[in-house]
């Protein structure tokens, strides 16, 4: 039986946990733990099948639970908080969580893909690259089935990150999400040193940015006297906690906002905190890059939207100038650097940075429309980028060896494998924001919100940088279609069912969200009628208390 919804009552006593509302997170967590146990107890030859089955089932179950949950939310209320107000369950959160779950499921297809019995991961990551030991493990067919529980834990963090309703929970979610990803980045089968370098870079920079985040959270605690978003919001509106009279706590708040923002902007990869992205995207195994480029981005932006709109929504004028600068830098710098890139994965990394800049214009808008636009953009971009990385996994050197990232050698791909090149062309056109693709609707949605909020100069910068980015997307199309194939050109390995499925899903989502986005825009996203302030559709504790009274 499904318990009733208007439960959460905050008491001094041990918190009453509404397990029903926590069920999606618990499912993923339990599956992750179970996966670890499988590693310990399941026979070696059956582990892979078991792990994949478990992960897929867990994510499917999570998705179903999320769908049921959203159906149960009270119609007139945005949502509730759960577990003593540390997690929010509202439509925005559930949409983001649902998006993350589906994208993770699709990435899982890529992660599980094997060619000639080998997946994208090192046979034994603990061996020294190039050593005898490594060769022995490769010959023995060893594999890291730990990948699957690690992915599940990362997904757990991603699901928590945009749902967190206080800074501590958000920090924990950030770490739960990041730690498995650091590991996964270092597991590439080919070019292992590269991969390990990427992992170390990601870890060091990530740890550093987490420190900033935590420090910022402490500042905010000092200012507001609480880490809870609802209480911080109340404190921000009242001009600080009781010890601050006459608004003299403001520097503390500003520092807090700035430091927290650094932590979050690092995760979304905004300039000037973007330097990890190209290296990590290039070095990590491509399926993991796909997971990061889609799911992590959604989660990080979900958290960013929540932090700026809920606790700090009351003092938008204090963070908007900062985001203006960051958004402009992100769109301009990344677009310009991307023009000089020769490697597909690096190029997609810079492209992802530019897209983060576009989404930031919607954050600057600080409106429900901005929130909805950003949410749509994230979902649309997630599917497209998954498809693009799936294509990258298929283009390999002549001997069928490692992936071939060097763009110049992609010449003539369109003649050799028109279907694959055609799919990639569609994804690139979506990135460039050509109409009839999801990318265009997303771009329109975020830019519309920004213009409506008076940030027209930002949008002008946005379209100009779009024009620059179009140049390098178009250049890939030129290389693929208009140049003659080279002798030493790439071969395209036949897409397995899983990778083929990912590309098909990517194409379908890109076209569907581009041609007929109405249902998603109307039903799943917060409507603009619910008021200008985005906090109206995002719960924090304060709003829950008023609604339950």
């Amino acid at each position: 039986m499904i318990p009733h919804m208007d439960l959460p009552v905050i008491t001094e006593a041990p918190p009453q946990l509404d397990w029903w509302l926590l069920a999606p997170l618990v499912t993923v967590f339990a599956a992750g733990v179970l996966g670890v146990l499988f590693e310990a107890f399941a026979p070696k030859e059956r582990r892979r099948g078991l792990q994949i089955g478990l992960a897929v089932l867990a994510l499917l179950a999570t998705f179903v639970l999320l769908v049921i949950q959203v159906g149960m939310l009270p119609a007139d209320d945005p949502g509730v908080t759960v577990a003593a107000g540390v997690l929010a369950v509202d439509r925005t959160v559930i949409f983001l969580q649902g998006t993350i779950t589906v994208l993770a499921l699709v990435s899982l297809l890529l992660i599980s893909e094997r060619r000639d019995g080998r997946d994208a991961f090192a046979a034994q990551a603990a061996t020294v690259p190039g050593s005898e030991e490594e060769r022995a493990h490769i010959l023995a067919g060893s594999q890291h089935t730990e990948v699957y529980p690690l992915v599940l834990f990362a997904v757990l963090g991603m699901l928590m990150f945009p749902a967190a309703n206080d800074f501590l929970t958000m920090f924990i979610a950030l770490e739960v999400m990041s730690l498995p990803l650091y590991l996964l980045c270092g597991l590439a089968r080919r070019r292992r040193l590269f991969s390990q370098e990427a992992a170390v870079k990601y870890f060091l920079l990530g740890a550093f940015s987490s420190g900033f985040f935590l420090f910022g959270a402490a500042m905010v605690y000092g200012y507001a006297g609480s880490v809870n978003f609802g209480e911080i919001r109340a404190a921000v509106e009242a001009g600080g906690a009781e010890i601050f009279q006459g608004g003299n706590g403001e520097p503390l708040m500003l520092m807090g906002i700035g430091l927290v923002a650094i932590g979050l902007l690092f995760k979304v990869g905004a300039v000037p905190f973007h330097n990890w992205k190209p290296d990590v995207y290039q070095g990590a195994p491509t399926p993991i890059t796909a997971l990061m480029a889609s799911c992590t981005l959604v989660a990080a932006f979900g958290a960013l939207l929540r932090v700026f709109f809920v606790p700090f929504g009351g003092s938008a004028e204090s963070w908007q100038p900062m985001l203006w600068v960051v958004a402009v830098l992100t769109m301009v710098v990344a677009a310009v650097i991307a023009v000089t890139q020769r490697d597909v994965k690096r190029l997609l990394a810079y492209s992802s940075v530019v897209h983060a800049g576009f989404i930031l214009t919607a954050v600057v808008a600080n409106s429900t429309d901005g929130l909805a636009g950003a949410m749509f953009y994230l979902a649309a971009y997630g599917f497209t980028t998954l498809g693009a990385f799936a294509v990258v996994t298929l283009v390999r050197t002549k001997d069928g060896g490692q992936e071939l990232g060097d763009l110049d050698r992609w010449a003539g791909l369109g003649r050799r494998s028109p279907a694959l090149a055609g799919a990639l062309t569609l994804f690139l056109l979506a990135f460039a924001g050509i109409p009839l693709t999801s990318g265009f609707i997303g771009k329109f949605a975020v830019f519309e919100a920004a213009v409506a909020a008076g940030a027209t100069p930002l949008v002008v910068v946005g379209v100009l940088s779009s024009a620059v980015t179009a140049f390098f997307y178009v250049r890939i199309i030129v290389v693929m279609f208009f140049r003659d194939p080279e002798e030493e050109g790439p071969t395209v390995v036949r897409a397995g069912a899983a990778t083929g499925g990912v590309i098909t899903i990517g194409v379908a989502a890109t076209l569907l969200l581009g041609l007929y986005p109405g249902p998603v825009l109307d039903n799943l996203l917060p409507s603009s009628e619910s008021g200008g302030e985005p906090v109206a559709v995002m719960v924090d504790q304060a709003s829950t208390e008023t609604s339950s009274e």
């Binding site: 050509i434 519309e448 027209t456 379209v463 100009l464």
Partner: protein, 554 residues
């Protein structure tokens, strides 16, 4: 009620998919790859292509490519029939308003509709487009036989482009217009970059795409602005006195106007943002060039008339003189550069820069005759320049070169070809009796009423037109026959069929333009009214006066 416009848009779109998806003749023998490689090495239209042809046709292409072409031609003719049937049902007495309107919600959250409808100008332009497409297909029939796919991709792209061309002229929702406006770039990009001529084609394709995209993206900001201010995308909601857009302050209106105008000026192409056109035309197949210059560029001028003038009447007066100035520069500059060209495709492209100068001049003179002339010019220019590109294309197909210096004395070898070349060339320089004369004359009269000096400068362009056309004719067709031209064939039956309708139209519209003007004038009257409301010295005598005047000219 029959959704005529939707059928007209859907028919070529379906055709494009069918042509593209038609089962290919599969040949997996190694010989195929050899043929493919050598065919692609030959690129487009160079002399080696002929040497490769037998090998390639033996291996690739084949029967299914032939079917694909027939299918493409069939679909384009069917579209022509549908549009013709629609045109017959068009009520000329109501040509100022929208007809065949269809409005369906598309993306309700942003108030976006699938809304189509035509007024007189849009109908004329759609009619022109669907007349050109089958002729282009016919003219391109043998162009791609050396390709592995027999050119089926090219024909599919033409049909896809046709659907978008109809859509862009028919759209009555600003967002829908924008969608067609941008999406149209993609087929043309592939038509130039993949199926084009010469080694520079991928560069030319990128240049074309980036120019247009940049313009389109700037327009996107203005489109969003229109929605944010006007609260709707429906054209019918946005125009008129009572709309929220009409009440916007003039400074904002100017910015929005400028956003639209930059995109349209790039498309049109107007000096100084015309530089993509000559290289794009040079690298295009003649058929592509016909559609690019004949139809796509018209979207720019159509957009100025339909969107810049009608959506932002408050901003028009501020822009009149700058645009007139740019138009005059385009007229003279395009004409002078045309004189100096050696590549015939480039030459025709530069003549178009000059002609588009006349069109924009006519539009922004804001008088009834000038705008009626400009609207008619759009149609006439499509036929005249289309025919000229096709003829140049036939020459290129024979000699494998577009350089004027490679030709000479063609007249003796191919009198029919030379004759058609002369007629279309004379149409290009607006000889009385041929269609462009009527429109150019109307523009100049209208501009004179607006202000004499621009009209006088415009006439210099007419003189230069005689120079570049006749000099090109003289160098290619007269004189001693150049070596390498011996055995030059005259027009084949297929080629004759491809240009004959255009020549006939040029003659008919030259002596009897009244049907076209009847359709165009009421629509022009509407835009002139808007312009006249804001420009005190607009001097709009009303379209009825314009009609009578052309009656006299004949």
């Amino acid at each position: 009620m029959i959704p005529w416009l939707t059928i007209a848009i859907a028919l070529p779109a379906v055709g494009a998919v069918l042509v593209w998806a038609l089962p290919r003749v599969t040949a997996t023998s190694p010989a195929r790859t050899v043929g493919e490689a050598s065919a692609s090495a030959a690129g487009g239209g160079t002399t080696t292509a002929t040497a490769v042809r037998p090998a390639a046709t033996a291996t690739g292409g084949g029967a299914s490519a032939e079917t694909a072409k027939r299918l493409a031609l069939g679909f384009s003719l069917a579209t022509l029939l549908v549009v013709a049937a629609m045109a017959l049902r068009f009520d000329t007495s109501q040509a100022g308003g929208l007809q065949f309107e269809e409005v369906h919600p598309w993306i309700p959250r942003f108030g976006i509709h699938y809304a189509v409808g035509v007024d007189g100008i849009a109908l004329a332009l759609i009619l022109m487009s669907v007349i050109l497409v089958p002729l282009v297909i016919l003219a391109a029939w043998k162009e791609h036989e050396d390709r592995s796919d027999g050119g089926r991709g090219y024909f599919a792209l033409i049909l896809a482009l046709e659907a978008m061309m109809i859509g862009v002229f028919a759209a009555t929702d600003v967002f829908l217009f924008y969608v067609f406006f941008e999406v149209m770039l993609i087929p043309v990009y592939f038509m130039i970059g993949r199926y084009g001529r010469g080694d520079e084609r991928s560069k030319a394709a990128i240049k074309f795409l980036l120019y247009s995209l940049a313009g389109g993206l700037i327009m996107l900001v203005a489109v969003i602005g229109v929605y944010v201010i006007g609260g709707s995308f429906l054209w019918t909601d946005l125009v008129g006195e009572g709309s929220a857009l009409a009440a916007v302050d003039p400074a904002t209106a100017r910015w929005l106007f400028l956003g639209f105008f930059i995109a349209f000026a790039i498309k049109a192409p107007m000096w100084p943002v015309h530089t993509w056109l000559p290289s794009a035309a040079q690298s295009s197949r003649p058929g592509t060039a016909v559609l690019l210059v004949g139809v796509l560029d018209k979207v720019g001028t159509y957009g100025m008339l339909r969107y810049c003038l009608e959506l932002f009447p408050a901003a028009v007066s501020w822009f009149v003189w700058p645009v007139v100035g740019l138009s005059l520069v385009s007229i003279i500059y395009g004409a002078i550069l045309a004189v100096g060209q050696n590549d015939m495709m480039r030459l025709v492209a530069y003549t178009s820069v000059s002609h588009f100068g006349f069109i924009t001049l006519g539009i922004f003179a804001l008088t009834a005759q000038a705008q009626a002339g400009a609207a008619l010019y759009m149609v006439n220019h499509g036929f005249a320049t289309g025919a000229l590109f096709l003829i140049v294309g036939f020459l290129i197909a024979r000699r494998g070169s577009a350089n004027i210096t490679d030709y000479g004395g063609v007249q003796k070898l191919a009198p029919k070809l030379a004759g058609v070349f002369l007629v279309t060339g004379l149409a290009g320089l607006a000889l009385p009796g041929l269609a462009p004369f009527v429109s150019e004359f109307l523009v100049l009269i209208g501009v004179y009423a607006f202000s004499p000096i621009p009209a006088v400068i415009g006439v210099i362009g007419v003189v230069l037109a005689a120079l570049y056309i006749l000099w090109m004719y003289q160098r290619t067709m007269n004189g001693p026959t150049k070596e390498g031209l011996s055995g030059l064939r005259d027009l084949s039956a297929r080629e004759t069929w491809a240009v004959a309708p255009l020549v006939a139209l040029l003659l008919v519209l030259g002596v009897y333009p009244q049907p076209a003007l009847d359709v165009i004038n009421p629509a022009v009257e509407r835009t002139v009214d808007i312009g006249a409301g804001t420009v005190a010295d607009g001097g709009s005598e009303g379209a009825a006066g314009a009609q009578e005047e052309e009656g006299d000219e004949e």
